[in-house]
Structure formats: C-alpha cells, structure tokens
C-alpha cells in the first residue's frame, strides 16, 4: 500500500495521447485453442540473425523439440510447438511483412518432450546460480514478448561496464484492444512473480518495479497481493496514457530518469522486460518448457466474442479468427499487434510468432485514412510527441529529402509510436515520412562510419 500511495498515478511527462481503449476482451479468461492441423514456425521470430534449421524434411518432432539453433550473438533458438512431421521448409511472408524461412510441421497427436513438466503445480524454489538461469533462458529461446522480440538472454547480459540497478516489468499494455498481458496477470500472477525473481537473480538487482496502467485495477490489486510474498517487487499503478509501454516512457514514469538520446536503458541502470516474458522465464526455468505458446488477444469491433487464447506458436492467424466466429465481412485491415504500432497483414494465413500479442480485425471506418490536407500548423503533433520532437518539421524535411536537417533534429530519437499521425487533423502521413527519413539517416550514418 505504501508503494501504491507513493507512486499514485505516475506517468511520463512529455506528450502522449488517449486513444479509445476498446479493451473488449478484458473480462475473458485465457482459453486453450485446440491444437491446429499444421503449424508454420518462422526461423526469424526475433531481432537478429535467423536461426539455423536443425531438422530435415521427414523428421518427426515432439512438442518442445529444438528445430532451429541460435546462429549468432543476437539470435534465438526456435522450438517445435506441436508433435508431428516436418513436411517442408519454405519461404513465407510472416507478420513482419518480409519473406522468412519457416518450418512447416504436420501435426500428429500431442506428444511432448519427456523433460517438460506439464503439471500446473507452482514451483517456487529458485536457488540457482545466475548463469544456470541465463542458460535456461537461452535454451528456451525466449525473446521479448511485447513485440520487439529482442533475445532475452542478450538483454540480460549487459556489458561489464554497466551496472543494472533495477528491473522494470512492462505490464502497461497501453495499446488499445490488447488484453493478453492483462489476462495473463489475472491467471498467472504467482508464476509471473517467480519469473521476476528469477530475472532479478540473473541481473543481481534488489528491486523490480511492475508498471501497470490504471485501467486494469483487478490486475493491480491481485499483483499487489501476490507481490507481498516476494522480496523487492513493487507494483506501480500508472496513469492511462499512450505510449506508456514504450521503454523510454516507462522508465521515466517509474524512475523519473530519462535515457539519453541514442543510448540503451541500461545507462540509467534499468532493464525493461515484458510481463509475458517474465512468465516465459518461469516456465523455462521451473518447468523446463521452451517458448512454444503464448497468450494472444483475438479482437475487433465486429468480432462477436473477443477472446484471449493460449496459442501454439506457428498457428495460423486465420484459425484464431475462426475460433471467434470468422473474420467479419467489412474488415479493412488485419493487424498483428496493437492498432497503434502493429503491422497490417496482407492476408490472414500467417503464423503466430513469439511477438504476436494480439490480432485485430479493423473495419473500414476505423482503419480508413482521410485524404491528406494542408498542414494547418495546429501544433498538435508537437504537443503529443512523447520524445519532444517536432513531427511536422521532420515530415517536411523527409519529404524534401533534407537528411542533414533530419539528423540534427534528432529524427533517430523517434520511437514510431504513431501519436503524431493519430492526432493530425489534416490526416497527414507524418510517421510514414519520418520512418522513411529515419531509414535514410541511419543509412547515411552507417556509410559515414565505414569511411
């Protein structure tokens, strides 16, 4: 209670917007989705080098069998989420919109690797060495499950020159529609707290702060209840404001510190981990279960029963929609992730990956963009930018290909939260141009460094 009082309604200071929440599935428990007939498991479900396939066509695999080996420093293992036979290794468009190699597995039965503990008993003993936990995390192929999919074992091994001081657990879920983390906290609070303790042990930090937006009072109350039993886990309710789930915004909201431009959170002593990732850590270390399933919100305005499903990685998104009554007729966009930062999918037959927190069917009237109009200099984009940038200016520079000005106006600080494009009354393609400019500027900087 003391923590709650002290941190009552904290938030970040610059900008931010309040999009409609549309948390339609917040009252839905997590349901098990039936095992699909086939899965397509992408070998690049993480940032970094794609995993190398270690199975051949015709091999039979079990649930939890490693099928892709980590292929570099920043890379992650990939495991089979079903039992069956490898039919083919093919190139498919995955939710990132790029062609990626994926392993197609035809499902036979549901046979698990024997060393995986499938019971729901809570294992709370954590007397391991940090290295042991880290190895387990690495072997389980855990990546950041909030969407960025950065390999966790790399994030938890910061360079020796830095010193982690506090672990931040991102349970903000500021994106409209998504409720995957919310439902996970309601059902797996105990496991999450053990997962947090494990990550704390790896980092060697004494305290962890869990940031939860105030639109999830039930999750806040439950987590506070459970966290009492664990040392050094503080649950912090936060004001409702987008993009609070942004790493930098969350750090500011919780620690009142800002991460300097172009630097990683570790320079202010913070490591930020998603709450679903903490749960995956629990399962990997205590249950020996690699990352083969995750909670996915399946939702949309016209969806009859928006739901939260526990889904095997590699299940087709189409199957998810079928489980809630099919994709509505007037759907204009299918989005993987949240509506503010997620990716629009070209078709619905793409596999769920480790970073898929939700899939949303968005009807025409919500997804439609009006024709862009003159900038009326209303300054709303400047007011809402959480990084304190001037989107209208960056967009113009980018459109005019003035890359030097883009760089000196800190275009690379943009976190692509989309607040500017969201708020623009003239429907100008602000973020589209800024993204373009960011790409160009990073190219130019890379070239400069090579010289």
């Amino acid at each position: 209670m003391k923590l709650r009082k002290k941190y009552a309604m904290q938030t970040f200071t610059k900008g931010g917007i309040h999009p409609l929440e549309h948390k339609l599935s917040s009252k839905q428990p997590i349901e098990m989705l039936p095992i699909p007939e086939f899965v397509q498991i992408s070998l690049s479900q993480h940032i970094g080098v794609a995993a190398t396939p270690i199975v051949k066509v015709g091999d039979s695999v079990k649930v939890g069998t490693c099928i892709g080996e980590s292929a570099g420093f920043i890379s992650a293992r990939v495991h089979s989420s079903v039992s069956g036979t490898v039919e083919k290794i093919e190139s498919i468009i995955d939710t990132s919109g790029l062609y990626r190699n994926a392993i197609y597995i035809q499902v036979h039965g549901d046979e698990w690797e024997s060393n995986i503990d499938r019971t729901s008993d809570i294992v709370s003993k954590i007397d391991y060495t940090p290295q042991y936990i880290l190895d387990k995390i690495s072997q389980a192929g855990i990546v950041g499950m909030g969407g960025a999919t950065f390999p966790l074992h790399v994030k938890l091994s910061p360079p020796d020159t830095t010193k982690p001081e506090v672990l931040i657990i991102n349970a903000v879920e500021c994106e409209p529609f998504l409720t995957a983390d919310h439902s996970l906290m309601l059902e797996k609070a105990e496991e999450i707290c053990i997962g947090i303790s494990l990550i704390k042990k790896v980092l060697g930090v004494d305290s962890a702060l869990v940031g939860i937006e105030n639109n999830k009072p039930d999750a806040i109350a439950l987590m506070q209840d459970i966290a009492h039993k664990y040392n050094g886990i503080g649950i912090v309710p936060l004001q409702i404001k987008y993009p609070q789930g942004g790493e930098k915004q969350l750090i500011e909201a919780l620690l009142h510190k800002e991460v300097p431009s172009g630097q990683l959170p570790i320079v202010v002593g913070a490591v930020v981990v998603n709450v679903a990732t903490a749960f995956a850590v629990y399962e990997a270390v205590q249950k020996n279960k690699p990352l083969i399933d995750r909670v996915v919100t399946v939702t949309g305005i016209e969806i009859p029963k928006p739901s939260n499903f526990l889904v095997r990685i590699g299940t087709s998104i189409h199957t998810l929609f079928e489980a809630v009554g099919g994709i509505p007729q007037n759907t204009e966009k299918i989005i993987s992730g949240g509506p503010m930062m997620g990716k629009a999918l070209i078709h619905s037959h793409m596999p769920v990956s480790k970073g898929t927190s939700g899939v949303i069917a968005v009807p025409y009237n919500l997804a439609h963009r009006d024709e862009p109009f003159n900038c009326i200099r209303c300054a709303r984009c400047v007011q809402v930018c959480p990084m304190g940038l001037q989107p209208y200016l960056l967009q113009l520079y980018s459109e005019q290909r003035m890359y030097e000005q883009l760089e000196t106006n800190f275009v690379l600080d943009c976190i692509e939260c989309g607040s500017c494009s969201y708020i623009c009354p003239s429907s100008r393609p602000l973020l589209d141009y800024i993204r373009l400019g960011k790409n160009k500027v990073s190219q130019i900087i890379r070239k400069r460094k090579q010289k």
């Binding site: 409609l20 800002e258 204009e332 997620g342 200099r377 209303c378 990084m387 607040s419």
Partner: protein, 328 residues
C-alpha cells in the same frame, strides 16, 4: 487481401472541418450579443463578410489555382469572414467590407497558398487595411441599442474616450462618460461589431478549450501580460493610467486573445514559443494603447508577433533525454 499500410491504424476523430466548425460555434455567442446590441446591421455586415470571403476563396481556387477538387467546406473562409466583420463597426458600408474580405482572403491567405500557409492572420490584415484606408468609416462607432438616449447615434469607444482624455491632459477622474465594468463585461459599450461583450467571448473561448481546439496558454498569457504591464503603471500613477481591468474588458482584448492570437496557422508550434508570442502581444498592445497614437493596438500587436512566429518556431520543445540528471 487486406489493406496494408504502416501504423498507426487508428486515427483521432477531430479533423480540420471539425476544428473550423467548432471555432464558428464558439463565435456564435459574441455574434448573438452584437445582434442584440447593434440590431440587424450587425447581422447584415457579418453575412456580407462571410459570403464575400467564401466567394473570393472559391474564385481564387477555381480560376487562379485551377484546382479541380478543392474544398471550401473546411469553413476557414467563414471564420475569416466572421472575424473580419467582428473587427469593424457594425454600421460600415457594405462595399468596404467586401474590399476588406478581398484583402483578407485574396492577399493575406490565398496568395500564400491557402489555409495553413498564411503568415499573417487574414482577418486582421483585412481589418488593418481598412483602418488605414478608410479611417473615418472605420472609427464611426454606433451606440448600442440600449444606450441611444444621449446625443447622436454614434459615440466613441471606451478606449477612444480614454485616449482623447489623456491626450488633452485630463487625469482619469476627470474623463467623463467611461462605462462601468458591468456594461463592459456584458457588452453594452461602443466598439467593433463582435468585440464588445467580454462575457460572450469568454463563453466561446471556454467552449474551444473544452473541445481542445485551443490550449489555454495563448489567451491566458496575452491577458495576463496586459494586466501585469498596465497594472504596474496603474500602481505607479493611478491618475494617469487606468485600472488594468478596464484594459482587459475594453477594445479587442478579449476577441484578440481568444480568437485572433490563437489562430493555429499564425501562432507558434511549441508551448514555449506560444508563451513568448502571447506575452509579446500583450506588451505591444499595452504600449500602443498607453503611449501610441491609436487608442487600440491589439490588431497591430498580433500582426507584429505573427511576423516573429517563424523565428519563434526555431525554439525546439524540450526533448526527451536532453534533461538527464536535472530531474531527481
């Protein structure tokens, strides 16, 4: 196959049309008060101004820009027309208001490229052009309908009375005929068509704040800096300088602070810039009122500060990560 585009996939409902219509709605209380106090002439003048602004914008779009698909539905021409009419005496001849509309829309707005590209507030450019070109017609202030008993149909504005008195060497106490604060607040005073009632304008301004069309910074800082600046002189010499409240309630202070200075296209982009802009307006207005030749100066003050806006836009907002270790 579904539509694919970059994020974000949802958008706020407020668009340019909605903003413009909100401003028009916010202007209606002041419009109502002016019809109440000045009669039908206020209605005619405003309608002529609105109509001529729309027609001129339409003609320029069609024959000079040669645009096939253009929209005058955005309502900005209506706002310009209304604000122009609000800034002239209600008895002004109809052809003068048409000239004013031509200058406002044709020169101040469309020659820069239309909505959003203009540097100066179009209605104020029109108003100042008329003030310089037709000084007599622009300073014949009809009396309000409730106040016609005394000699003649026209009379000076409170600010003109004040200026005249001070110039002729009287002190504040000796100036006769200054209205009381209640009349000034409600609008029972001489003045331009839409500026007389502080109450009606504040109601409109609060509506704009409520609809999040404007932020509070510009109006509050314009009025505050006027109050402080004139207050200092009032405290130094209350015989030479009038109560600061008089300045806030007279002339175009309220209309300027709430509706003219907050014009989006011609005000700065950052809050810091907006505050400097607003304080500049307040101080220049008071300097003109107290030491200049004109009794009222807020139009000139806003136009002068409009010219400074490109410079003020060089001020960057405080960037995330630039203030490390300042906050503890």
């Amino acid at each position: 196959m579904y539509t694919v585009s970059a994020s974000p996939h949802i958008h706020a409902k407020q668009n340019v049309n909605r903003i413009m219509y909100d401003v028009i709605i916010a202007l209606l209380p002041a419009f109502g008060v002016s019809i109440l106090f000045f009669g039908m002439s206020a209605l005619y003048t405003t309608l002529i101004a609105i109509l001529s602004c729309i027609v001129i914008e339409f003609l320029i779009h069609k024959f000079l820009f040669k645009k096939q698909d253009f929209s005058i539905k955005d309502g900005s021409a209506v706002i310009t027309g209304m604000l122009l009419a609000f800034n002239v005496p209600s008895s002004i001849p109809w052809w003068i208001i048409i000239i004013g509309s031509f200058v406002a829309i044709g020169i101040a707005k469309m020659s820069f490229g239309g909505l959003g590209n203009n540097i100066f507030n179009p209605a104020l450019v029109g108003r100042v052009f008329l003030l310089i070109s037709f000084p007599v017609d622009m300073t014949l202030w009809p009396k309000t309908t409730l106040n016609q008993s005394v000699d003649g149909l026209t009379g000076p504005t409170p600010l003109a009375l004040l200026k005249e008195g001070i110039v002729s060497g009287k002190n504040i106490m000796q100036i006769k005929g200054l209205p009381n604060y209640q009349d000034m607040f409600l609008g029972n005073i001489g003045g331009s068509l839409g500026e007389i009632s502080a109450l009606a304008i504040i109601i409109g301004g609060i509506y704009l704040l409520f609809r999040k069309v404007i932020t509070w910074h510009i109006p509050v800082f314009v009025l505050l800096s006027m109050f402080v600046f004139s207050g200092i002189f009032y405290l130094l010499n209350p015989y030479m300088y009038i109560n600061p409240l008089f300045h806030l309630l007279s002339g175009g202070a309220m209309l300027g602070a709430w509706f003219m200075a907050t014009d989006m296209a011609t005000s700065p982009m950052t809050i810091k810039g907006q505050i400097i802009f607003a304080v500049g307006i307040g101080i220049i207005t008071m300097i003109i009122r107290m030491f200049g030749a004109y009794p009222e100066g807020i139009s000139f003050a806003i136009l002068l500060m409009n010219a400074v806006v490109p410079l003020l836009n060089k001020i960057s907002p405080s960037r995330y990560g630039s203030s490390l270790s300042i906050k503890k």
